[in-house]
């Protein structure tokens, strides 16, 4: 992919040379911001062909994810400011973060007219968590009591219903967890918790091709594979965020370069992430229609604490020294052209629970102290840092710059080791073949500090690729999960974050990522949230 992208530049340059004209494109006219709006107008949205049939509990990648998010509404959701709000639920109450009572809003319907009831949720969750159905998102139900019985690690399930779920009446059900989880309410927003109509169980395969949800948009016609997925406004949608447009058409592209060219010539209306090669240029091309905005994702480099000397306590200093050798501000501004911000901790600024400067002095550029710390810690194991990353993402620019800084300011030999694909890099990382530094990134599942800390830094957590383990940190997290209020939990997590970075630094925070988006002249009122998704329902299509 990278090769192909630099190819764009070669091609552009050739084209420029051939025609002896300056490159550019659309210019900066953004059209009239208050043009007349067509409430039934549809717009196209950049996407890739979903990898799986559209079933909420089996959709875990962006292609299908964006479609699920428009066809379905979970109990709760997040608004533009990352604040939790009730969606299908009227209220979710709990006094101990372990027993929840969910009351549903009355009158909600599925796209086929079937009313949405408590059973729509409970049955869907039972089905999704059942080991027999092998759903990719089954692990989201793990906190619920009885999960181990319906989804044992080996063999067939011992039960087909989650013990912790009980229907009280049509509009009310209760959830019991195995232990308190302070952010469970937040987690309920996730696609896997979407309700399913009865039609789903009759023929799950057909449903995957023609999904029926309870969300603001319903499927329009057939799914034209690899070309587009059309949706239209659902007239009976009862939520507060009624669409201001007629529907979203998800247009599938193989290459983002192709999509970007369509965007510039108004053949594609919204692109949530322009190609990396266009990061320096898209503002010229799109003018006011270019958006650069931080979202809930970070980029770090991590260390294999399971490998040789890296696990030794004195190497904390070495990692902190390496961190101080990196001039994040300059890299973000020059090499990355503002497509990322320098990080001052693990949790990005736009995420609830963010605390300024949780990294302390260790994420501030200070070459003198960097060298001192590296020396005090006895130097880098093997006297050389090898930074592994996947070359099919937008990683080369920062990886080269970071390595360069480590060499120049830290006085440590540093080379990069690009793996051709994300898949290959992942396999090496999860099979614990790392010998030195590697790229570790996180894109939020939900905009709360818990997600950033617990998923990667808890002992034996699923994405803890460093095998980092610290009893005090684990205890803090347990305490946070049992906290009565979300504010209290956030505070404890922030404390854990500080402890991780300032006392162990198993990973070096580098950047908070930006979404670089753009839209065509045909639409207006395009905003993005911390998931780097457009607020789909708010988009207005000009007449």
């Amino acid at each position: 992919m990278r090769g192909a992208k630099s190819a764009t530049w070669v091609a552009m340059a050739t084209a420029v040379a051939l025609t002896a004209t300056a490159c550019g494109g659309g210019g900066s006219d953004s059209g009239d911001d208050n043009a007349a709006v067509n409430p039934d107008g549809t717009y196209t949205y950049y996407n890739v062909e979903p990898q799986n049939p559209i079933i909420p509990s089996n959709t875990n990648e962006v292609g299908g994810g964006y479609i699920v998010k428009n066809l379905f509404r979970s109990l709760v959701g997040f608004d533009e400011k990352s604040k939790l709000r009730m969606e299908a639920a009227e209220s979710i109450e709990s006094s101990d973060n372990q027993h929840f009572t969910v009351k549903l809003k009355p009158g909600w319907k599925f796209h086929n007219g079937e009313p949405q009831t408590a059973a729509s949720f409970v049955d869907a969750w039972n089905w999704a968590s059942n080991g027999k159905n092998a759903q990719l998102n089954a692990s989201w139900f793990e906190p619920i009591k009885g999960y181990a019985d319906v989804h044992p690690e080996k063999g067939d399930p011992k039960a087909d219903k989650l013990e912790g779920l009980k229907v009280v009446n049509d509009l009310e059900f209760t959830i019991e967890l195995t232990k308190p989880v302070s952010t469970f309410k937040e987690q309920l927003f996730y696609d896997a918790f979407s309700p399913l109509p009865k039609a789903f169980y009759k023929d799950t395969k057909a449903f995957g091709e023609h999904p029926i949800g309870n969300g603001p948009y319903q499927m329009d016609g057939d799914w034209s594979h690899k070309v587009e997925f059309k949706t239209k406004k659902f007239a009976d949608y009862k939520g507060d965020d009624k669409p201001k447009n007629g529907g979203v058409i998800f247009k599938f592209y193989n290459k983002d370069d192709a999509a970007y060219n369509d965007l510039v010539s108004d053949k594609l209306d919204i692109m949530y992430q322009v190609p990396n090669s266009m990061a320096g240029q898209f503002k010229n091309d799109l003018g006011k229609r270019a958006i650069s905005q931080m979202f809930g994702g970070n980029t770090n480099i991590s260390f294999p604490l399971y490998e040789g000397d890296w696990g030794k306590p004195e190497k904390v200093k070495v990692r902190q020294g390496l961190s101080m050798a990196i001039d994040r501000e300059t890299i973000a501004k020059t090499a990355l052209k503002g497509s990322k911000d320098a990080a001052d901790g693990i949790t990005p600024k736009v995420v609830e629970g963010y605390q300024a400067n949780s990294c302390g002095e260790f994420c501030k550029f200070n070459p003198t102290k960097a060298k001192e710390l590296i020396k005090e810690g006895g130097g880098v194991p093997g006297n050389k840092v090898t930074l592994t990353y996947n070359a099919d993402g937008a990683n080369k620019e920062w990886a080269d710059a970071v390595c360069n800084d480590i060499r120049q300011n830290g006085g440590v030999e540093c080379v990069t080791d690009p793996k051709p694909t994300f898949q290959q890099a992942r396999t090496d990382i999860t099979e614990r073949h790392m010998k030195s530094a590697f790229r570790m990134a996180w894109v939020q599942d939900f905009p709360n500090i818990q997600n950033f800390i617990s998923a990667q830094y808890r002992t034996k957590a699923g994405a803890n690729d460093m095998e980092f383990s610290n009893k005090d940190v684990d205890e803090l997290m347990d305490k946070a999960d049992a906290a009565k209020t979300i504010e209290e939990s956030n505070k404890l997590y922030a404390e854990a974050e500080k402890k991780i970075l300032q006392e162990s630094m198993p990973s070096i925070p580098l950047f908070f990522d930006h979404t670089l988006a753009g839209y065509s002249k045909k639409v207006q009122n395009v905003k993005f949230d911390s998931f780097r998704q457009a607020i789909w329902t708010d988009v207005e299509v000009k007449k």
């Binding site: 990719l136 690899k226 599938f252 192709a258 369509d262 053949k267 992942r426 999860t430």
Partner: protein, 308 residues
């Protein structure tokens, strides 16, 4: 003739088995675990991995997997992709698009390439010949993605003659420009090949005889010269058709055409054995059939060749 065709058809069987087995082995030796990678950056939960592996038959020994695949193939079952869709469906979507694109490119290549080749071959050393030689040299030396991006940039973005990408992959009018881009390289080869053989045959004895007999020039060139000059060109065109179908990955990517090349590329990235093997098998068959057709065409072009 009949026996020749029968023998060639029989030869296809070992070639077919050999290629499918090789590709099957190659896909399965790709680094990375296809089932685990379905989970993205999240840790895969072992129970689900186990079940999915069983579902796709990945828990069986390799040769047994291959046997299951091949025996399914003879029942007309191309297997299932990891997305749960039958591979036959995937191919039914992609092949019509690619066949259109390849045939357009092929037609363009044959008509323009052969015409230019004959013209320049007859007028060797003249101005037109020089121009065509330089132009084909340029085309041959520029990689196809550069030609593609430049065309897209100039026609689509700058002059706005076409939409930058193909909006409807089945629309022949929209496939025109990508087809020309795809054909450009082969076109240059066909032109040069034709030019050379025409030039050589012009000096052949039978040509002198034909002219001496006082045959009209039209007949000398159209029948005597063309027939003999086209033999190497036909060989090239035959294998090129297969290449146009399978090798359009770059062009398809640039113009966002939903054809075979891209489906193949995506399936290789996700290590989807059944899809890769299915598509490549069909491509291999295309190669085999087109080379058989080429061999038969020899006999038509050159009566001295007889197949017993």
């Amino acid at each position: 003739m009949g026996r020749f065709v029968a023998r060639r058809l029989l030869q296809m069987i070992p070639v077919f088995i050999g290629t499918t087995l090789l590709i099957f082995l190659m896909v399965y030796s790709l680094p990375g675990d296809p089932v685990k990678s379905l989970f993205g950056p999240k840790a895969a939960d072992p129970a689900t991995v186990e079940r999915l592996r069983h579902q796709y038959g990945l828990d069986k020994p390799l040769l047994e997997q291959y046997w299951n695949y091949i025996s399914g193939l003879f029942k007309g079952d191309f297997g299932q992709s990891f997305t749960g869709r039958p591979v036959a469906d995937l191919m039914a979507e992609a092949f019509p698009v690619t066949i259109r694109l390849a045939l357009l490119a092929f037609g363009f290549e044959v008509i323009v390439g052969v015409a230019l080749g004959i013209l320049t071959g007859l007028k060797r050393g003249k101005f037109l010949d020089q121009i065509v030689l330089v132009l084909t040299l340029v085309v041959i030396s520029i990689p196809v993605f550069v030609i593609g991006y430049v065309t897209q940039f100039l026609l689509g973005l700058k002059w706005k003659v076409i939409t930058p990408t193909v909006q409807d992959s089945m629309n022949i009018g929209q496939l025109m420009v990508p087809a020309i881009v795809l054909a450009a390289l082969s076109l240059a080869y066909v032109t040069r090949l034709t030019r050379t053989t025409v030039g050589e045959n012009l000096r052949a004895d039978y040509m002198r005889t034909a002219v001496a007999k006082g045959l009209p020039r039209k007949r000398v060139i159209g029948v005597h010269l063309m027939r003999n000059s086209l033999i190497p060109v036909v060989t090239f065109l035959g294998t090129d058709l297969g290449m146009l179908m399978g090798g359009a990955i770059v062009t398809e990517g640039i113009f966002n055409i939903q054809g075979v090349g891209n489906t193949l590329f995506r399936s290789i990235q996700t290590s989807e054995g059944p899809t890769v093997v299915g598509i490549v098998t069909v491509l291999v068959l295309v190669y085999l059939v087109s080379s058989l057709v080429v061999d038969l065409l020899y006999a038509v072009l050159d009566p001295r060749i007889r197949y017993a």
